[in-house]
Every structure is written in structure tokens, then in C-alpha cells.
Amino acid sequence: MTGEAIVVDNVSRVFGGLKAVDGASLKLARGETVAIVGPNGAGKSTLIQLISGVERADSGTIHVDEVRTDHLPPDRIARLGVGRSFQTSRVFPALTVWDSVLVGVQAGLIETRSGRLIDPVTESAGALLGLPFWQRRVAAQEAAAEAALKLFGDRLWPRRDQPALGLSYANRRRLEIARLLAAEPRYLLLDEPSAGMNPTETEELTHLILDLRRTHPDMGILVIEHKLSMVRRIADRVVVLNQGRVLIEDRPDHALDHPEVVEAYLGRARSGANFQDAHHG
């Protein structure tokens, strides 16, 4: 139908009478980076919840690489290659950095090439007896985990034996992204990855995403982001969401300077508003 892409078609989700997402449509192809912007409550996070299967859409369809996913559980969708981060970063507090990233690659460990899961008995046997076939798989996954941690330079790798809870806020966000990348996803959905980061850290994150675009040319990246200066640098396209609807979808410079967007974003049009970082907490 549409090739390798996440396709959201006319999806709605209502929370107790409030339409969080109202007939939104969106396409994220592999290899492109799309940013979603919009005021608080515009339904940006809900959209990611719906794509990743954490929430169920009330109507509309979602396809990932032509597989219909709007009725699949979140773990199935994740195994289709959709990795997502959370608005409030979710790390496994008591697990060490290293263990957390290994959890990220575990699904790959138990998945065969045909997409089936290895049954628990074989998995137990492999894990308990350290069978050679199993050790080979483990070694491959550990290599992926190490590579993912090292993407962040000396931010995470030297701290790999620390519990995630002890990390700084920015490092927790980095750990979450590292965990996602270790699984080598086809699509990366990032929900406000720069929230709580200072300008230097935001800059670092911007570079990371730009690097990812280079090193993973086949990966589709969807970013919810308030820091518009960052959006301008990383995104191929910008989707502006307002009250659950797609207001505009265009190149970043076009989309972000559109008067309707300015109005929706700031509440009212301000002529000549210098639209830099409309970050409001």
C-alpha cells in the first residue's frame, strides 16, 4: 500500500469526552525525520501512545510497514521495529545502566528471523545451560548494547554499573534513547527528548540525532519537541498539531512560520514574533 512507513490514518482517541486526538493522519517513512509540534494538550503524546499501542485508538487505522497495528499489544508493535521513549523518561530504576540496555536487546535475543518468539523452555535451557547457540546470540546482543551506550561518549559507558536511578536527569533520557537504539529499531519515536536539558545538553542531543540520521539512514525518526530551534535543524518535515487535529504539515521553515501555527502555538498571532524556543515547561 504505502511501502515501508508508519501510516496513521484518520485516528481518534477520546478521554472522557475530551478528544485528545481527533481524526489525525500522519506518515513517517523510513529514513526521514518528522517533528511534531503543538501547544500543550494538542495530542502529541497521545499520538505516540497510539502508535506504540499503549493506548487504543477509538477509530482510524495505523499501519507499520503495511502491518495493521492498531489492535496489537505494545510489545508486538515494538518488535515490529518501533522504539519509543516516554515524556517522563522511563528507566528501570534499580537496574544498572548496563542491565537496562540489555533489557532493550532482550526482545531481539528471543526473536527468530521469522519473527516468532523462542519458546520459554528453549529460552530457559539456553539461558541456564549456556548452550553455544544461545551464547552466540547473547554475544551479538551485548555487542549491540555496548555500541549503543558508546554513542553517548563518556556520558553512559563509564557509569554502566550504576543504577539508573542514580543518574542525572539528562543521563536518564540518554539511557532511555540508548536502550531504544540498542534494539536497532526501524522507527524511533521520541517524546520530548530534550525536556529538562540545559542548552549544552540540548545541543549535544541535536548532534546525536543528526549523527543518527547519518549512521542510520534507514531509520524513521518521529520527535515531539518544543525547542523549535532544534526542530528546524533536525526535521525534514514538521507536523503541527492543535486540539487533536493536524493543522499543517510542511517543511520546517514553512510550517513554523505559518501565521496559523504561530496563533495556535502562542494563543494569538503576534506579528513578527521571533519564533525561537517556545519552550514552556
Partner: protein
């Protein structure tokens, strides 16, 4: 039809009693997010203090009841102050066990003060009964209805319209936000416990009037029903507690009427589990459960049973000491020498129980610690293993290798089946679900006479014979010591291998953040079921060995008290830390032998030790993992 209606009336009468008890739980759970196991004990104290005020001091009923309500409310405050306040910031299981320790102490003290006998309650309301055909209702029923309704309405008005009530609700919804608004959340917690104490006392007195007697063991059975009612209605909801109580009352009355009285509790708890399968939040599940992940909010808020989520002393809590898998073999090997030095079969027997409980405790630690589903029903799995050996060793004369394999396999299956209703539950709700499973297990052992021989138990279980070792027979205490030690050591090695493997890592990830684990593409349900299967297999083996050591299997060994004891072991050892669990299981199983000298004070000393241990090391002896 007339019989049916009269049974409904009977159900409403007892249901109202459950509702009152459930209210106390709901209140504390809503505000402090703590399951107060001592609520049953406060309920019993309420009844006994009123009894003493009337029987010893000659007070009339109403002032006696007032005195009792005030005293128990103060005890509720003290409970919060002594047992719970110091544990703020400790892992979430610590306060739960702390209330349990208090409950043990209160129950046993009551036996000492008032003797273990039932006492006739020296006051009554009226013995008038109104008949409607064959159905009937008594004046006492109506009074209880009146009080129940009044208490519910008063409580609802209080939390809706008074400043304190609103502050209570704010604390219940978000304690830290409430604190920022200037609400003294610690005072709110105290108020909640005081109110819960008062409600407990009131329900205790009403129950005493209803049944015209008081007995020191009344806290546990009525407390369990109170939990079930609260859970059925939706843990933190006031109308939910009432509806849950009434429904539970009607459900079990109908079960008693149309299936048989001995099945009443088994059916009541089964219905509860089925209901949780359909509506994990309970019938009128309130906001707190939503926040706990019932309906996942837009931000994907899901509960965490993280060991550290509320821990203030994160770093120290993380330091865990544990043996590598082969370490269990090494310790086991050292223990094989004991019979060569010690000839006392008394000591060997104590050590055998130590080994069995080490294994059982490790099995509990695996689900409760690694996966974060607190198991208060492990005795059921223990029992399935024991009965499997009892049933197959005796009439079919199977050798021990066969019966133990059956025990392991069957228990693993039962554990998986039991876990299915729990899959949607987390945190305290899941814990209460396991409590129901434990009760169902016990009641099945007691009532499924054709298989378990019911209360008669299975007697004269033959000595174990291992066919694979050429028909080796284990008849003496020494021989059984070696048999048990061998099996336990190997089982612990396997369990530890699991926990240290990637599978164990996934279990801990599920415990720490179930939603993030799902988002990482992990089939969470499958891993939880696997954990239950492994835990069940270990508990089943422990049960099978227990049956061979004991040579008698009967329901008494598999009560909720056993489940609680085993959970205590797992927590004291450090949740998720199998070395700690095994060590604590071993130590606590033989501790009673040292406490024999304390006679009837034994359980009190035990409770105090538990309190102190929780206070000193809430993360467990060897650290949670």
C-alpha cells in the same frame, strides 16, 4: 423462591458486616497507600475492649462502645507512629509487613489477656425477629444496617465537605502535591489511621453484637473478608467498600445455600479472582487505582513496584550480597557433613525444615522480589506439591523420583493457572489477588475430600525411594536430611541461575517498570507466567519433600499463616535475593525452636523481632536485588 429471597436477606446481613470492615481498609489504603494487615486485629480489639468495659467495669453498652472506639482510634494513631512512620521511604513491602508484625503481636497478646476462649458478649440489642414468610430479619440486623449506612454517609460527607476531609482526599490523590499546597500529609496519614481504628472498633462491636460472642482469633477470618470486600469494590473507594461488602455477603450466602457451606469461602474468593480478571479496578475502582495503572493515562502512567521507587537511601538499598549459583552447592556440600558431627535427630529435623523453608522462601522471593508480584498465597503451591506426593506415593506406590516430578510439574501448572487472573494487576492489588489464591488453595485441600481426604489428611506416606539410584530408600532422619539437602541445593542452583540470567534481568525490568518493558518489545505476560511456573516448581518440590519428611499431609500446614510466614522470610532476606531468602527461610524456620522457652510469648517475640528487623534493614538482611 422464598428460600432464595431469605438467603439474599441473610447475605445482606453478613455483607453489611464485611462492608464496615472494608471501609477501614479502604480509608487507609486511599490515604497512605498501605494495606493495613492490622485492621483485623484492631477490629478484634474493638470488640474485646467493649467486652471488658461491660463485663469488668459494668458500663452500659453505649458508653462501653464509645470508650472502645476512642481507645482503638488512639491505637490506630500509635500504629502509624510506631510501625509505619519510620518506614517512610522504605521499599513498599516494608510497611505492609510491619502491619503484619503488629497484627501478630496484638492477636497473641489478646490470647494472653483474654484467654484463647470465646466469651459471650455481655450486651445485646434485642432478640426480636421479624418474619416474612420463612425469611426473617432481626432487630440487630437493622441496627447494623443503620450504623453501616450512617458510617458510610458520615464518612462520605466528611471527605467531601470538611476541610480535613478534602485534605485527606488530596493526600490520597497526590501526597507530594498536597504537601506543596501546605497540607500536613503526615497529620493526614495519622487521621486516616485514627479513623480506620475507630471504624475497626465500631465494626468489631457490631460483629460482637451480631454473633453474641467475641474470640481472640476473630481478626483473621473477618479481616480476610474485609480485604476481599474492599478489593471487590475497588480498593480506595468508600461506596465501593460498601457495595463490595454487600455483594460478597450475598455471593457467599448463595454459595453456601446452593453448593454447600464448606464451599462458601472458596467460592467467594474464586468469584473475587474472576471479577479481577474482568475488572481489575474493582467494581467502583477509584482514582488511585487509575493512577496505579488501571486505565493508563495519556502519559502512560503505570504503577511501579520498583524496589527503589520510594527509597530515600537508594545506594545502600542496592548493595546486595548474594552467592553465585555454585555457591549453593558449596554450602550444601558443607551441610552434608553435619550428621557426621551431630547425632541429635532433633537438630537434624530442625535443619531439614530449615532447608525446606529456605527453598520455599526462595520460591516466594522469585515472584515477590524479582517480578514484584508480592505472593501472599505461596502456601497453596507448597500444598499442591505436598498433596501430589501424598496422593501418588500412597495408593499408587510410585517411587520418589516419579512423585517429586509430578509434584514439581503439577505445581508449576497450577501456579501458571493461578497467575492468569493476576496478569492485569500490579502492586497491592496483585498481592491481595495472591492472598485469595492462597485461601482457595487451603479451602480446596480442606474440602475436596475425595482427593485430599479433607480434614483427615493423607496419612502414612511411605519413606521415599529413588528408583534412579537403584531403589535407594531414605528411612531415617539422617537419610532424609541428605535427600532434602541434595534436592534443595540443586533447586536453589537452578533458581539462582534463572535469576542471574537474562530472564532474571527481564523479571526485574518488569518489576521496575512494566510499561517500559512492554515498550522494549518484551512479552511481559509470558515472562510473568514463566516466573510463576519456576516459583511454583520450586514450591512444589518443597511441598513434596515436606510430605516425605512429615509422612502426613493435612490442610493445617497450608494456611494463610504459612503464606505470610514465607513472605516474611523472603522480605527479610532481601526481595529478589535468593541467597538472602534462603538464609532467612532457613533461619526463621529454626528460630521457633530457640523461642520455645518463651512459651505463649513466643509469637509476640517473633513479631517484635520482625518489627526490629524491618526498622533496621527494611531492604532485607542481605539487600534486595
Amino acid at each position: 423462591m422464598e428460600l432464595f429471597l431469605s438467603q439474599i436477606l441473610n447475605g445482606l446481613a453478613i455483607g453489611q458486616v464485611y462492608a464496615l470492615i472494608a471501609l477501614g481498609f479502604s480509608l487507609v489504603f486511599g490515604v497512605a497507600n498501605i494495606i493495613n494487615f492490622a485492621q483485623g486485629a484492631l477490629f478484634m480489639l474493638g470488640a474485646f475492649i467493649a467486652y471488658s468495659a461491660i463485663a469488668w467495669f459494668g458500663l452500659p453498652l453505649v458508653p462501653a462502645a464509645a470508650v472502645s472506639v476512642v481507645i482503638v482510634a488512639i491505637l490506630g494513631l500509635l500504629l502509624e507512629r510506631i510501625a509505619l512512620r519510620p518506614l517512610i521511604g522504605a521499599p513498599y513491602v516494608a510497611p505492609f509487613l510491619s502491619t503484619l508484625a503488629i497484627s501478630t503481636i496484638i492477636d497473641q497478646s489478646a490470647e494472653i489477656v483474654w484467654s484463647p476462649e470465646s466469651q459471650p458478649f455481655p450486651a445485646s440489642i434485642s432478640s426480636t425477629t421479624f418474619f416474612i414468610g420463612n425469611a426473617y430479619i432481626t432487630v440487630t440486623d437493622l441496627v447494623i444496617f443503620g450504623f453501616g449506612a450512617a458510617a458510610t454517609v458520615a464518612l462520605t460527607l466528611f471527605v467531601s465537605f470538611t476541610w480535613t476531609g478534602r485534605a485527606l482526599r488530596a493526600t490520597a490523590q497526590d501526597a507530594s502535591a498536597a504537601a506543596q499546597l501546605g497540607i500536613r500529609t503526615d497529620v493526614m496519614r495519622q487521621i486516616a489511621f485514627g479513623l480506620a481504628g475507630a471504624l475497626g472498633a465500631l465494626s468489631g462491636i457490631l460483629v460482637a453484637l451480631y454473633f453474641q460472642s467475641v474470640f481472640p482469633q476473630m481478626g483473621i477470618p473477618f479481616g480476610l473478608k474485609g480485604f476481599a470486600a474492599a478489593l471487590l469494590g475497588g480498593l480506595a473507594s468508600i461506596p465501593g467498600a460498601v457495595v463490595g461488602g454487600l455483594l460478597l455477603g450475598i455471593g457467599e450466602t448463595l454459595a453456601s445455600a446452593y453448593v454447600g457451606d464448606s464451599y462458601r469461602d472458596a467460592i467467594a474468593f474464586t468469584l473475587l479472582l474472576l471479577m479481577l480478571l474482568v475488572r481489575p479496578n474493582g467494581l467502583l475502582g477509584g482514582g488511585r487505582l487509575d493512577a496505579l495503572g488501571g486505565a493508563a493515562a495519556a502519559a502512560g502512567a503505570m504503577p511501579t513496584t520498583s524496589l527503589l521507587a520510594s527509597s530515600s537511601s537508594q545506594q545502600s538499598a542496592l548493595r546486595a550480597y548474594y552467592l553465585p549459583p555454585w555457591g549453593f552447592l558449596a554450602v550444601g556440600a558443607a551441610f552434608t557433613l553435619v550428621p557426621l558431627v551431630v547425632s541429635s535427630t532433633y537438630v537434624l529435623q530442625a535443619l531439614i525444615y530449615g532447608f525446606i523453608f529456605a527453598l520455599l522462601s526462595a520460591s516466594t522471593s522469585l515472584v515477590s522480589g524479582s517480578v514484584g508480584i508480592l505472593s501472599i498465597g505461596q502456601a497453596a503451591f507448597f500444598g499442591v506439591g505436598a498433596y501430589a506426593v501424598g496422593v501418588f506415593a500412597r495408593p499408587y506406590g510410585l517411587p520418589a523420583d516419579a512423585t517429586l516430578v509430578i509434584a514439581i510439574g503439577l505445581t508449576a501448572l497450577v501456579a501458571v493457572g493461578a497467575a492468569i487472573p493476576l496478569l492485569k494487576l500490579t502492586g497491592h492489588t496483585a498481592a491481595l489477588g495472591t492472598l485469595a489464591i492462597g485461601q482457595i488453595g487451603f479451602l480446596v485441600f480442606l474440602n475436596w475430600v475425595s482427593v485430599t481426604r479433607g480434614p483427615m489428611g493423607i496419612l502414612n506416606i511411605p519413606h521415599p525411594v529413588l528408583e534412579l539410584l537403584g531403589g535407594l530408600r531414605f528411612a531415617t532422619t539422617e537419610q532424609k536430611y541428605w535427600l532434602v539437602l541434595g534436592f534443595v541445593a540443586v533447586a536453589l542452583v537452578i533458581a539462582e541461575r534463572y535469576v542471574s540470567s537474562p530472564i532474571g534481568r527481564v523479571w526485574r525490568a518488569i518489576r521496575e517498570d512494566r510499561l517500559a518493558a512492554l515498550a522494549a518489545g518484551l512479552p511481559v505476560r509470558r515472562y510473568i507466567l514463566l516466573a510463576f511456573a519456576v516459583s511454583g516448581a520450586l514450591a512444589g518440590l518443597a511441598g513434596g519433600l515436606f510430605a516425605y519428611v512429615q509422612q502426613v499431609v493435612s490442610p493445617e500446614s497450608f494456611t494463610v499463616e504459612t503464606s505470610i510466614l514465607v513472605l516474611t522470610m523472603a522480605v527479610l532476606g532481601g526481595l529478589g535475593n535468593l541467597t538472602g531468602a534462603a538464609l532467612a527461610g532457613f533461619a526463621l524456620a529454626i528460630l521457633p525452636e530457640f523461642l520455645r522457652g518463651f512459651a505463649e510469648w513466643r509469637m509476640i517475640v517473633y513479631g517484635l523481632l520482625l518489627l526490629v528487623a524491618l526498622r533496621v534493614r527494611p531492604q532485607g538482611l542481605l539487600g534486595a536485588r
